[in-house]
Amino acid sequence: MAMVKDSAERQVLDSKGIRRALKMMASDIVLKNPDLDRLAFVGILTRGVPLAERLAAHVKEQEGVDVPLGKLDITLYRDDVGLAYPNPVIKQTVLPFEVSGSVIILVDDVLYTGRTVRAALDALMDFGRPASIRLAVLIDRGLRELPVGADHVGKTIETTREEDVLVQLVEVEAKDRVIVTRIPGRDGGKEA
């Protein structure tokens, strides 16, 4: 579904914009979580992972600290398995640090209904008891269905349920950009 061709497509961030947003988020994370020893980034597969890597690189640049990086597959915790996806392949969750006691920055590309975050919280709790979990998203597009909020946001945009927000990253696609497209003939319900 990544490449939807539509005339109503609008770009909300270019590669420079994504870079600036992530740099700003990294500074914000360091400012609000000064205890860097306990910090860990966990990217939600698929696009949360490269974003978590980039945030960790910014923190390294700013503070000279290597923050551990994990990745989380939330498919088996979704409340809509089989509804929204053609059975997605289960990928491996890797959390190479002690979850109990850590301050986890959960990273995803888009915050939408809040259902992905709900699933991610359940998944993380099965690995231990973190001291706290914060949420970092590149885009907050509103339209929540659950009481979930982000602590670190790259850009907040207004969207409708008839739109799709696509975060394209060089690690996955050809270039860095964030676009909003119209969903042809279907309503949404797939984003985070």
């Binding site: 053609p86 392949v89 491996q92 690995f127």
Partner: protein, 320 residues
């Protein structure tokens, strides 16, 4: 998140055998199993993916590994599982399989796992109930999850299946494990040779399954193989018309240390279990570091989790 699925969706209602599966289906099951294996290494070995689903395990024939493995897989996915054995059910009172299954259907299970001594029993059942049916071994026909876990183990250990040379040794004619493995390994492009007493090699197996038959001594078949799969010799067939004795079988068709030395040092030694120690495989071989018998059992859980998950979450019809 709009990740593009790299696999075709799984479109099967049941898992009755390897035969109806495509290469892509098999790859999807094995790839899904990789993610499932990780759950078994967590402090809390449970995910909610099958919450609220009911699974009936009907084993009308004895089983240790397969039954245990399915039960663990169901529990790890949070399904509610019910067990039924032939000896404790109304089967002993003369109820027919279809009647038993219609009554099981009345409990609205989502999945029925069936082990039966009659070939084709799961196929018959699948036509009479709404639940997804998983064949856990039917007579001398197929044992699909065993072949899938064998393939998973080979792929995990050797990194691929295509182009590998595999020897399957034992009672090919009566083995559902052999049948499922021949089908699966050929679909994935392995080179398969079968060997055993000529009374236990089905006539025309070369053409029917596109495999080679080794004629001669076991010693001469071992040197170039990447995988040596030994099959259990069913006791009821020993001393029968097909085989003279344990000792004779072991002498000609058993894997002992001397024969192990003829295999390549990186070749995998496999056995679906239960092992008749001293018959088809000597204890020193079964317990050696070349044998992956217990890894096969461990991988069975992940593979069965993958199958349960894929059958319980059919692909959405117009999936993006």
């Amino acid at each position: 998140m709009g990740s593009v699925p790299s696999h075709k969706p799984f479109r099967h209602r049941h898992l009755l055998g390897i035969e109806p599966l495509s290469r892509e289906d098999i790859a999807l099951i094995l790839d899904t199993a990789v993610g499932m294996a990780e759950i078994g290494r967590r402090p809390i070995k449970k995910v909610p993916a099958l919450r609220g689903k009911t699974v009936v395990n009907f084993f009308a024939e004895p089983s240790t590994r397969t039954k245990l493995s399915f039960e663990v897989a169901e529990k790890r996915l949070n399904a509610d599982s019910l067990g039924l054995t032939a000896s404790s059910s109304s089967v002993v009172k003369g109820e027919s399989l279809v009647d038993t299954m219609k009554n099981v259907q009345a409990m609205s299970p989502d999945v029925v796992i069936l082990r039966h001594s009659i070939s084709g029993a799961p196929h018959l059942v699948s036509r009479h109930i709404d639940a997804a049916v998983i064949n856990a071994g039917d007579g001398t026909h197929e044992h699909p999850t065993q072949a899938l876990l064998d393939a998973y183990t080979i792929r995990e250990k050797l990194g691929r299946i295509e182009g590998l040379r595999v020897l399957i040794c034992g009672d090919i004619a009566h083995s559902r494990v052999a049948r499922s493995n021949m089908l699966l390994l050929r679909k994935l492009g392995a080179d398969v040779t079968v060997f055993g007493p000529m009374t236990m090699i089905p006539v025309g197996v070369e053409e029917a399954y596109d495999v080679k038959v080794h004629r001669g001594r076991l010693d001469d078949a071992l040197g170039d193989k990447d995988v040596v799969m030994m099959l259990r010799i069913q006791k009821e067939r020993l001393s029968g018309p097909l085989l003279p004795s344990n000792r004779e079988y072991s002498m000609h068709f058993g894997l002992n240390l001397a024969r192990l030395a003829l295999t390549r040092p990186d070749a995998l030694i496999m056995h679906p279990g239960p092992v008749n120690r001293g018959v088809e495989m000597d204890p020193e071989v079964a317990d050696s570091d070349r044998s992956v018998i217990l890894e096969q059992v461990e991988n069975g859980v992940a593979v069965r989790m993958a199958v349960l998950y894929l059958l319980c979450h059919p692909a959405a019809e117009e999936a993006i």
